[in-house]
Every structure is written in structure tokens, then in C-alpha cells.
């Protein structure tokens, strides 16, 4: 099924003509309304009228996450602040959050794209949707929520946490679609079994999973355990939120990126050079219709490739393959984005020093765990157990408070953390091994 047949099946030439028209309007708009972009254009000697074809997008500057931080909080708005009806933000230590604004039309477009994505996954207005994405500043919960309401299906805004209660309501309300991170879906399954509920008593037929990396193996596991079709959704708050790209139920092979609203490129993350279609590299997105905070060539740091083979579902929007990794050191822990530098900032703030540390990620059962190993040097050391335990609990508390992630903090002996060329290897990810 398609939600918006004309747009989703737009012939490629018309789709590209629409993209070019929107790109030129966008470039005009940011040049005259966003000082940050105007400065970047002027530095490169680029003017809006230089954009004549879609390939000319390569003349435009990249936008990085750091640019959003540098313009914290509202510095990249392209409209007056009172036109902005909503703000979302990513987690981060003070002053380091990335903020995104939306006009009423942005919120409406987002709802439309989410409704489109929901139908793409096989949902319809007859469905009851158990939405376990977190509500709040995180875009997951509200993004899904507005899309489901737009379509007219029934949304259960359960949000995260309280898993036993979730399981009970999942059964009692007869939810047919589950939206969550893939690891939470497996955790729900374990809780279903522990609660003595028979999976066949549930009405679920579809799961829409995203916000963290997962694999085909995990998909097979979720599908057989929960007896559903599991589909991959992609999005990021800087660009919009969930619903930037969605896997179709028909092919279940890659995610259609909604090209009428986003222009995609794949680049070499080292050189910034645009790669030919089909090559694997970093996904770069330009928002074609965003009003409040349009972004040019945003470097997502997500590694994927474009699949231009026409899809059997009939949609003409090209697909990206499942995200294969990151081109930076961002970690995704239970759907929460964490940068090692944020942990470092917390250690610095807590202890006044930057000790050697190591982040160890494991998958215990179906949930990700984070262990922060901190080397005890003479500055940190005390001959009293209670002082060392206080250090552990303070770091743990601050990580929870600032990043929203529960971490186990372990103190370790000096030089127990591996170093390569004198520099500590910061991350050991054992989740997919």
C-alpha cells in the first residue's frame, strides 16, 4: 500500500525537476536569511544563481554537527523565532546539545512523511500502534506519534520504560504495530515470556524499528520470536527525526529515502568527495522543504550506499541500504547517541582531571550495557574505600543525568587500558561480535 501515490511514484525526471526547483529556493532562502550560510557561500565565492543543476549541490558547503553546536541554540533558524512552533534537541552535556526548530509546516510535513513511512511498513488506519520510542526532546516518540495520528490509526503513546506494564497493555489493547528500538523489542519479548503471556495471544503483525544499528540476524530473531514483520526506519533529529527513509514491506530490502523532501549524496568521509551511485560511503543530506532550520549537505556520519534499482513496491524514491556503521566515534546505546568526548567532559567535570578511560559496550541478553573503565592515578587515589566508591557513583550519576544512559563505572589500575601509540584506545564494542 502507498500513502501518497502521486508523490511516492513520481517518475524520476519529474522527481529530479522537483528536487532542483526546491534546492534553488532553499539556497536563495538560506543565503539571505542565515548569516552562517551566507558567510560560508561568500568564503567559497558561491552565489545562489550558481546552482543550475542538481550536481551543482557540490558547490555548496557541508554542514557538520559542530556547526549546530557552534550556533547553539537558535543560530541556524531561517525564520523569525515566533514562526517556530516546536523545538527538539539531542542529548548532550550543557551547551553541547544540538537543537532543531520546526515551523507549523515542518511539523505537518514530518507527520506526512511519517504517515507515508508507516504505510510503507504495511500499516493502515485500522492499526493500533504501541509507540515505545521515548517522548520528549528526543524526536522518536513525537515523530511517530504525529504520523500515526495523521494517518488516522490509533496511537498508544506508551514511551520508554515500565516494561512489565508495557507488556500488559500490549496484550490488553491488542496493539498490532510495535515501534521501538530493535533491542527493546527483544527485551519486550523476554518480558512477555517471563510474564507468562503466549506470543500467539498478541495481535502484533508489524514492527517498525530504528534509532540504533541492527543486523539481518537480529531481524530474523525478532521476526521469529514476536511473529511479526520487522522493518527498518531511518531518521535523525538534525534533518527532521524518524521518517527520513523507510523500508517497504514488499521488498524488505533497503530504505526508500523520501527524495521529494531530501537530497542525498554519498561521499568519501575522508576527502569529502562525492562518490558514484552504488559506492559505499557517508550519507549527506540536504533538506529541501524544511523552513525553520534547513540544512545544506549535512554530514550524517552514517555509512551506507544508494541502491537505484527500481523497487517492486512501485516507489520511485531510491533506497539506501541498512546503515553499516559510523564515520565518527558516535556510539548508540539503547537508542541514545553518546560521544566519547561527552563522557570525557563528565569525567573532567566530576574529578577535575581527565583520567585514562575506556568504554566497553556489551550486549547482555537483548540490552546494551555500557561500562566506563577509569584508571586510578595518584590524583584520584585514596586509601579509603568510601572515597573511591563515591567517585564511581558520582560519575555514574552524572552520566545518567547528562546523557540519559546507565553506565557501570569500574576503577582500574594504571596502564590496564590498552594504548596504541601512546593514545588510549577508547572504545571496545563487543555487541556485534
Amino acid at each position: 500500500m502507498l500513502y501518497d501515490v502521486p508523490q511516492e511514484t513520481l517518475p524520476r525526471d519529474e522527481l529530479e525537476a522537483l528536487q532542483l526547483r526546491r534546492l534553488r529556493q532553499l539556497v536563495d532562502k538560506v543565503y539571505y536569511n542565515v548569516p552562517f550560510y551566507r558567510k560560508k557561500f561568500d568564503e567559497r565565492g558561491v552565489r545562489p544563481e550558481h546552482i543550475r543543476t542538481l550536481a551543482d549541490v557540490q558547490l555548496l558547503p557541508f554542514t557538520e554537527k559542530q556547526d549546530l553546536r557552534n550556533n547553539y541554540p537558535f543560530g541556524l533558524f531561517a525564520v523569525p523565532r515566533d514562526n517556530v512552533v516546536r523545538v527538539h534537541a539531542s542529548s548532550g552535556t550543557t551547551g553541547k546539545a544540538t537543537v532543531v526548530g520546526y515551523t507549523a509546516r515542518d511539523v505537518a510535513n514530518w507527520a506526512d512523511l511519517m504517515a507515508r513511512s508507516f504505510v510503507c511498513a504495511g500499516g493502515s488506519r485500522r492499526d493500533i500502534v504501541h509507540n515505545a520510542y521515548g517522548y520528549g526532546l528526543f524526536t522518536g516518540g513525537l515523530g511517530m506519534h504525529y504520523g500515526v495520528e495523521r494517518l488516522g490509526a490509533t496511537i498508544i503513546p506508551i514511551s520508554g520504560g515500565g516494561t512489565r506494564r508495557q507488556v500488559m497493555l500490549l496484550r490488553d489493547f491488542g496493539a498490532t504495530v510495535l515501534c521501538s528500538t530493535p533491542s527493546y523489542a527483544l527485551y519486550l519479548y523476554e518480558t512477555i515470556i517471563e510474564s507468562g503471556i503466549d506470543v500467539t495471544d498478541l495481535k502484533l503483525h508489524t514492527g517498525i524499528f530504528g534509532a540504533e544499528p541492527w543486523s539481518e540476524k537480529m531481524r530474523a530473531e525478532i521476526e521469529s520470536k514476536l511473529r511479526i514483520k520487522a522493518l527498518d526506519i531511518y531518521g535523525l533529529s538534525e534533518i527532521m527525526g524518524p521518517g527520513v527513509a523507510m523500508e517497504c514491506r514488499e521488498a524488505q530490502d533497503g530504505l526508500h529515502l523520501w527524495e521529494d523532501h531530501f537530497l542525498m549524496e554519498i561521499i568519501d568521509p575522508k576527502t569529502g568527495e562525492v562518490l558514484p551511485e552504488g559506492a559505499t560511503g557517508e550519507l549527506v543530506l540536504t533538506t529541501l522543504t524544511k523552513e525553520a532550520q534547513p540544512l545544506l549537505r549535512y554530514r550524517t556520519r552514517d555509512i551506507t550506499r544508494i541502491n537505484a534499482i527500481p523497487c517492486k513496491c512501485g516507489r520511485t524514491h531510491r533506497r539506501i541500504t541498512r546503515i553499516q556503521g559510523r564515520s565518527d566515534d558516535m556510539l548508540i546505546i539503547r537508542g541514545v547517541n553518546v560521544f566519547p568526548q561527552q563522557i570525557e567532559a563528565i569525567l573532567l567535570e566530576t574529578q577535575g582531571i581527565t583520567p585514562h578511560y575506556e568504554l566497553i559496550l556489551r550486549r547482555e541478553g537483548s540490552l546494551d550495557t555500557l561500562e566506563v573503565k577509569v584508571e586510578v592515578d595518584e590524583q584520584l587515589f585514596s586509601d579509603e574505600i568510601k572515597h573511591l566508591q563515591r567517585i564511581e557513583s558520582t560519575i555514574q550519576k552524572n552520566i545518567k543525568e547528562f546523557l540519559g544512559v546507565t553506565a557501570k563505572v569500574t576503577l582500574s589500575e594504571p596502564r590496564s587500558i590498552q594504548r596504541s601509540e601512546g593514545k588510549a584506545k577508547r572504545i571496545i564494542d563487543l555487541r556485534h561480535s
Binding site: V376, D383, L388, L411, E413
Partner: protein
């Protein structure tokens, strides 16, 4: 009247304690007293040794985190109530004991109590006023 104690941070792993004693043995350093405090993932080894400076340097060179703390060594008669009499004096004086450990001297007549206080100087004053014998570093090492 304070005595220097060295403390060593240890992960809870097999063989770590033996590493410490090996370094000290090779350096010809004698351990007068020790105590080991532990949690589920780490421990703190506290040592009174004959050559504090040398022991510390050797352990640091061996890759350990080493701290130095001032503790108070008190000598009491090795008989029932010996420890209690000291704790009563401290309690009456409002001094808090962070931790302590004890050993019996070779003569067998006396016991030595090693104390770590929250307020060390005040504790020494109170003990001295009560006529308790406090050992100096050299006295302790020579036992």
C-alpha cells in the same frame, strides 16, 4: 608522632597481591603490618614497611598507583580490654576512626594498633593526654 603508611590500588584479579609482595621481597623490604580492604571490583592494600620511600618508588616503577597516608600507631598491653580502652578514649573525645588494623609484637607482651583518623592531630592530642603510648616511625619499624 605520625607514622607513614603506603597504600596500593589493586584490581580484584588473581595474582595482583603476589605482584606487590614480589616487588617488596626483591627490594629487601620488610612488611611490618598490612591490611587489605576490598569491594567487588577493587581493593586497597595498606602497608607499614621498613623503608617507605624505597617501597613506594619500587611499586610505582612496577606500575602500581601508590598513596601515602599518615596513620597513628598505638601500643597497648596484649590483654582483654586493651583495644576497648583506647576506643573509649577516642569516642569520648569525638574522634572518628576511618579504619584500623592491629598486630601483636614479637615479645608477645604488647599489641600495636594502626589507626587512620578523620582528624589525626586532635586524635594524637587526646591519646597523649590520656597517657597512651604512641609509637614513632623508627620505633615501629624497629619492633
Amino acid at each position: 608522632m605520625k607514622v607513614e603508611q603506603i597504600s596500593v590500588f589493586l584490581e580484584n584479579r588473581a595474582g595482583r597481591l603476589a605482584e606487590v609482595t614480589k616487588i617488596l621481597a626483591q627490594g629487601g623490604i620488610n612488611i611490618r603490618a598490612l591490611s587489605l580492604a576490598d569491594t567487588s571490583d577493587f581493593g586497597i592494600l595498606r602497608l607499614i614497611v621498613t623503608e617507605v620511600e624505597k617501597a613506594k618508588d619500587l611499586l610505582k616503577a612496577g606500575g602500581f598507583t601508590v598513596g601515602r597516608t599518615n596513620v597513628v600507631a598505638v601500643e597497648v598491653a596484649d590483654r582483654p580490654g586493651g583495644l576497648h580502652s583506647i576506643l573509649e578514649i577516642l569516642g569520648a573525645g569525638g574522634v572518628n576512626v576511618e579504619y584500623m588494623y592491629a598486630f601483636v609484637t614479637q615479645s608477645g607482651q604488647n599489641a600495636v594498633l594502626i589507626f587512620r583518623f578523620d582528624r589525626t592531630d586532635q586524635a594524637i592530642e587526646i591519646l597523649q593526654a590520656a597517657g597512651v603510648r604512641i609509637l614513632s616511625g623508627p620505633e615501629l619499624y624497629a619492633l
